[in-house]
Point group: C2
Chain length 284, copies 2
């Protein structure tokens, strides 16, 4: 199986490196050509001149870009190469509607599509231990599972096209709430004058234990907010979640509050920081 990778950002680059380590990566393409050139030189693999030319030489194209419009742009660029036997896997976090649009457009040429958003942060991308939520057909998943296994240790089939993105929306809503929970609690601890490294250690070992506290607690309490997961991207995801919720006429109050907090932080110039920069609005 030959795999091509589109989108060599903070998540995509380490994911592509893990595919290369598994001997599966044949070629890459990136909107900013310098990133693709650097990685292709480092790994000794091809840098394709366009998404379609990449797709023509591989069995599987994996996409990992930022926004809905980016996915649609890549999908449209891939359409000339869409053919039976080609599988396109989108690991970006976008709306279920975008996933269905992508599947439909690529399906016209006979290509198969999976929505396969991931969670686990840059740490998970680097270690190849992401969790991946799959929407599409089980038969398509079976075909590409060896490639996905190079990037993820937990690959869960969620249902038809879009179901992977729906599960990721649940994940992003939970991340927003956990960010609120952790920042409120740690700001309270700082105000109480506690040794925050010890608080993070002991709280991590119990019923409030969570990934975000362990990974981001020590840095947020030191006032450093390097991404990680860029706040502006989570803001974009939460807007999708709130739109999905509005369509179903349900409220997501914690998600809405987090969107407002992020909007204020972006206005203050913190959009490129990690989502833990929410602590800026909480700490004493």
């Amino acid at each position: 199986m030959k795999v091509g990778f589109v989108g060599l950002g903070a998540m995509g680059e380490p994911m592509a490196r893990n595919l290369a380590a598994a001997g599966l990566l044949a070629a890459v393409w990136n909107r900013t050509p310098a990133r693709a050139a650097a990685l292709s030189a480092a790994l000794g693999i091809d840098s394709a001149p366009s998404p379609a030319e990449l797709a023509a030489t591989v069995d599987v194209v994996i996409i990992c870009v930022s926004a809905d419009a980016d996915v649609i742009r890549i999908v449209d660029a891939l359409r000339p190469a869409a053919r039976p036997g080609l599988v396109v896997v989108d690991c970006s976090t976008v709306s279920p509607d975008t996933a269905r649009k992508a599947a439909q457009r690529l399906g016209e040429g006979g290509a198969e599509f999976l929505d396969a958003p991931v969670t686990g942060g840059v740490e998970g991308a680097r270690s190849g231990r992401l969790a991946m939520m799959i929407g599409g057909s089980p038969a398509t998943l079976a075909k590409v599972e060896p490639a996905l296994s190079a990037m993820a240790t937990r690959i869960v089939f969620m249902g038809d096209t879009g179901a992977g993105q729906a599960a990721k929306a649940v994940n992003q809503v939970m991340c927003a709430g956990i960010n609120q929970a952790v920042t409120e609690a740690l700001a309270f601890g700082e105000k109480l004058g506690l040794d925050m490294d010890r608080v993070i250690d002991v709280v991590s070992g119990g019923a409030a234990g969570n990934w975000f506290l362990e990974k981001r607690g020590p840095t947020m309490t030191r006032g450093t907010f390097a991404p990680g997961f860029k706040l502006a991207l989570h803001h974009k995801d939460l807007a999708i979640c709130l739109s999905m919720a509005a369509n179903m006429q349900i409220d997501l109050p914690l998600t809405a509050a987090t969107l407002d907090d992020y909007t204020a932080l972006m206005a203050d110039g913190f959009g490129d920081e990690d989502i833990s920069a929410l602590y800026r609005r909480k700490r004493p």
Copy 2:
């Protein structure tokens, strides 16, 4: 070292059993005598007629009760037996002020006191893998650490008397926020029609992963809310946290919202359920 245990509730009983398994438990006392009689018969250890008579026969008394008034009542009952060499360890979750009051009253007789609240749920109490937050003197902690190690795998010294309870308050605030985060997100997932066991599996593997989701997600989405951690007790803890926050003139909005939710649930008769019964107010 001979240990006596006071308070054989959902947490205390399994903690006492782990002390017995380590060969350290000499005697127990409980407000409801039947529970003490049953455990003393099962373990072949003494059931003391009063806290003071328990304390007279042991080196360490461990308390695990529910509320501030309960701790003060036990401490006052222990005072006749307070003497140099006796260490009293309170594993209850109460206010830092109660811890300071207990230390002062027992100190008058020459006894030493540690506040040592725990986290890890009934699961942690049973497995002896609790996390414990210590306030008091490091020398006192060193004396009793072998006994504490029978109940907890993470024992963290936080500072002077009350600092253990302050750290626990941070933990309880974080638990409240995580409860809100998990229930909001899972209700969203149910409304989206997703297979919730799969959602819980995949989300647990990533950046939103947390203890509460793994342990309580599968039961809350099935509509079962057996404690676990009783909602009315968390309500009591959050009232302490909000009072501490008010004293420092800071807001804990998520904690305050959770207190309101719990108040409503208690009014509807759900106070004896697990805190995950918050899902009753969120699910579609």
